[in-house]
């Protein structure tokens, strides 16, 4: 008889049977994977949304650099290169005092009262865009020190608040994910251990009639795999539904600031990550559990 045959069907059947013979433990391990992935997924989605908002702010974000009013327009334009040379600056757009005035007046309906306003009341200015919002106050100070710059202002509070929030969320995510990963590996490995313990005599007998370790291991791997994939699919579906609910609410409120990223943009990577984790926890937990019973 040839040695290598396709026994996948047998392995899967044995794995499924094993899942049902200790159904409660299997159910518990699926639940723990689902809970783990939902929590992890929620944190990921929150972090992604904050990142998206921060990213948007970075785009329109802006240090306003006012140029000393004694400089001519040409001199003011010349400062542009110095601004660009400052660390963390990605671009700088020059706005003449006339343009600034027009924009200013444009914000009001009744323009009559600005009839007498002269552009020279205003200063030439730059909109400076930064790379990293986290460094914005440093960049603002650097810009203010440049010769010819009268003043540099940035809306630090929103920027800093968001950055802090983002850091907290990502820090918390790392810790929570690590803790949950350990817990779910532990639960999964206990499930498989229980399954292996119930079948320890059978395993010993199999070894006596010439079974290799891999022949014995495969059904358990499939068991872990099935539980893992089942858990991750359930978690994915649940998170999708949950996110849909939250996103609907957010759009109802329509505060203008909150616009959630759509689930479809993150669904593929999220699904991949979920599956990998479900697979890893299932199969990894199995590997941790089995070795003791194979030494006969």
């Amino acid at each position: 008889m040839k040695l290598s045959r396709n026994r996948t069907g047998y392995y899967i059947k044995e794995g499924v049977v094993s899942i049902f013979t200790h159904g409660l433990m299997s159910f518990a391990s699926v639940c723990i994977i689902v809970a783990f992935l939902i929590i992890m997924g929620s944190f990921a989605l929150i972090a992604l949304n904050i990142n998206a908002v921060v990213g948007e702010l970075e785009n329109e974000n802006i240090i306003l650099v006012y140029i000393d009013e004694h400089l001519t327009e040409n001199e003011a334009r010349a400062i542009g290169t110095r601004l660009l040379a400052t660390p963390n600056v990605t671009s700088a757009r020059f706005i003449t005092r006339e343009e600034a005035l027009t924009a200013f007046i444009g914000r009001y309906e009744n323009t009559e009262r600005f009839k007498d306003v002269d552009a020279t009341w205003l200063r030439h200015r730059y909109n400076v865009f930064v790379e990293d919002i986290e460094l914005i106050s440093q960049t603002r100070d650097d810009l203010a020190d440049i010769y010819g710059v009268a003043k540099a202002t940035a809306n630090l509070r929103i920027a800093q608040g968001l950055v802090t929030l983002r850091n907290i969320v990502s820090g918390a995510s790392v810790i929570i994910v690590a803790v949950l990963l350990v817990i779910s590996l532990f639960i999964m490995s206990n499930t498989i251990k229980l399954a292996a313990f119930e079948r320890r005599e059978e395993i010993a007998i199999m070894k006596m009639v010439g079974a290799t370790n891999s022949f014995i291991r495969w059904p358990f791997i499939y068991e872990g795999f099935i539980l893992g994939v089942f858990g991750s699919s359930a978690a994915f579906a649940a998170l999708w539904a949950l996110y849909g609910l939250v996103a609907d609410r957010a759009i109802d409120v329509e505060s203008g600031l909150i616009s959630l990223i759509s689930f479809s943009t993150v669904s593929v990577p999220l699904f991949v990550v979920f599956t990998v984790i479900g697979f890893g926890v299932g199969v990894g937990g199995c590997g941790m559990a089995l070795n003791r019973y194979l030494k006969v």
Binding site: M1, S4, E202, K207, M208, V209, G210
Partner: protein, 229 residues
Amino acid sequence: MIKMTDVFKVYDKGIKALKGVTFTLNDGEFAFLVGPSGSGKSTIIKLLNGEIAPTDGAVMVNGYNMNKIKMRKMPYLRRTLGVVFQDLRLINEKTVYENVAFAMRVIGATNKEIRARVPYILKLVGLEHKTGMTPPELSGGEKQRVAIARALVNDPQLIIADEPTSDLDPARKLEIFMLLQEINKLGTTVFVVTHEKTIVDRLSERVIAIDGGRIISDGMDGYYNYEVE
């Protein structure tokens, strides 16, 4: 092929089960191993299938050096053996059919091969009507026959049986021993531990007698020349 050379086995608590056992069983031979309870018979069998390792001395089985065999190679040694264990070691949750079939599945047989071979072997040991039952539903003798069927099913090079017939009625006993003789005539080496004096006397085969961990006689006389209690 079995070759034991000056083998000692000391168990954990200092119990000396074997004290210098030497014998050879060549390919195609048939031998009985007889001796009183506690004399070391099962210990010899466990050394042959790698369940335990010798404390001293050399053990060779079917070309495998049991002193040096790697864990990785152990399954392949065991596939050359068909062992009937004294405690049978059937899987209580599996049916008679499955107990025999899984020994084939373990070594990579296809479902087709299994479906063809298992019923044939079960008929050979007279269990064709019990295929769907589980071991707890069987009598002691029926369980022994399941264990024998499992040992035979892969057509091994060497059959080792540790008191395979103790629970069978006299007619069945003789049947099983004649079956083992039959299989031996077809080229399989057979090594049987037994207490069945009358049957050993009738079959005129080689008899190795052991007492207190030492071989006290080994002959082709065909009779059981050691008084068993």
